[in-house]
Amino acid sequence: MTQTPAVETRELVVRYGDFTAVDRVSITVERGEIFGFLGANGAGKTTTIRVLCGLLPPTEGFVRVAGIDYEQGERAIKEKVGYMSQRFTLYNDLTVGENLDFIASLRKLEPGYYAHRRRELLDMISFKKGLDATVQELSGGTKQQVSLAAALLHAPEIVFLDEPTAGVTPAGRERFWNLIHLVAERGKTVFVTTHYMDEAEQCGRIALMRDGKLVATDSPAGLKKSVFPEQVFEFDPLQRLSFSELAAFEDHEAFSFFEPYGPRFHAAAASPQTWATWAPQLEKIFRIRPIAPSLEDVFIRAVQVRR
């Protein structure tokens, strides 16, 4: 039997009054995928996720999650999905045990199953502090790991993670992403938003949103290829340049793309002809090396509305 995709939307529209937050978005996410959902703040990512979790009705369009059409009832969808929201998942004043007990009671989990599942998930995140630790005692990284365990408590088929690592240290982020891979290996679908491009690189596929619209969907490698058909270079000044001096190169005719990275910048050659003309002069100012574009370059080119 062919499985339905984990997530399917066609021409999804969400409006708040006159404001269109999600504008004709069509996405298909296969089961077991780690799907990255990227976009600028306010691009409509969280609104889309809230629809997919059964928390917000679509204004128009077709939505099917875990094989259940939205019209069949958002309650049935809620049972199949786990959601780790951007702002709030755990009560700071409650202990880890109390938080999990509370979620288990909301989900009406059978006590024997709950006890087994809690042990399994706390083992998965290698949780060392006891269940009696209050959430406010935990580091940011550990708190997020416990939040992930809480979102998985009822064994959902799909887990939606909305910026799960914002503000977490690099080591904590790495640990969290190891868990994401583990969750996906165990057959769950992971739908995740992030502003960290090194994390987005770890997704199987990525969708890029801008102003409520989907602008591209592909693997990280595919996006790099399609967004940057031309060669990208890194320019490293031979002598330190001030920000204004560096920024002055933004409108240089040799470049079709310019993105500063601290004291350096990435740029794409506008055309082989202009590049051949300008390269000898630029080499007197910069150490230039060809590079693969970073996903941050891709994001900026695909999502940015020119100033």
Partner: protein
């Protein structure tokens, strides 16, 4: 008369009850430079910033402030310091526009200055289309950007930014950094903590803080070279692994 502000920290120690947060920190923060203070969670970064701002009193050590090269008291320069804390308390029921007007009145900003600054900040943060949205209905990144706008609204001499770009999208991050660089050229002192370690490379100077101690300070690339790491991410992950029992 206001001039560039620099800050000198000498032997600062601070403990919360029995928990030591800073163990004798000494640092020089020169005007016109961007200082990145980076380190793991709980390493003492925020405590250091709060001491510099006079929000906490050190148990030992001293902080000296200089304005235009002359010693100045914190009281004298306080109105020229902008602070963006890690956890912001904005008013959930006020819109972006109302927040800006509130801070305009609070700081006594001239109408013409306010209009110019507001336009620039709305453009950079890409929040112009969301001006009427209450803060309680903003996404995490937008909320953060509103806090940053409030901190940048007046023209400070010192900017203290505690994780200003957490949750902010890459385009806005880039534009906010452009804005900070432009401020630097006006001889402003910027102190910033960040969880995005690629941003640390954009600072003039980086101070690595671990368990309340400054373990390394310097120009980012030289510091990475000295540590034999390609990036601060790599450096941090390596240091965290080395500290595991």
């Amino acid at each position: 008369m206001s001039g560039p502000v620099s800050i000198s920290v000498q032997g600062v120690r601070k403990a919360f009850r029995k928990f030591p947060a800073l163990h004798g920190v000494s640092l020089e923060f020169e005007a016109g430079r961007m200082h990145g203070i980076i380190g793991p969670e709980g390493s003492g970064k925020t405590t250091l910033l709060r001491i510099l701002l006079g929000l906490l009193v050190p148990d030992q050590g001293s902080i000296a402030y200089f304005e235009g090269g002359r010693p100045a008291s914190l009281e004298a320069i306080r109105t020229r310091i902008s602070y963006m804390p890690q956890t912001q308390s904005l008013y959930a029921d006020l819109s972006i526009k109302e927040h800006l007007e509130f801070f305009r009145d609070l700081y006594g900003i001239e109408p013409a200055d306010y209009e110019r600054k507001k336009e620039e900040l709305l453009r950079v943060t890409r929040l112009a289309d969301f001006q009427d949205r209450p803060a309680g209905h903003l996404s995490g990144g937008m909320y953060k950007k509103l806090g940053l706008m409030c901190a940048l609204l007046r023209s400070p001499r010192v900017m203290v930014l505690d994780e200003p770009t957490t949750g902010v999208d890459p385009i806005s991050r880039r534009e906010l950094w452009d804005l900070l660089y432009r401020l630097l050229e006006q001889d402003i002192l910027i102190l910033v903590t960040t969880a995005y370690l690629d941003e640390a490379e954009r600072c003039s100077k980086v101070h690595l803080v671990e368990s309340g101690v400054v373990v390394a300070s310097g120009e980012p690339r030289k510091l990475l070279e000295a540590e034999g790491a390609r990036s601060f991410d790599e450096l941090f992950i390596r240091r965290a692994a080395a500290q595991k029992p």
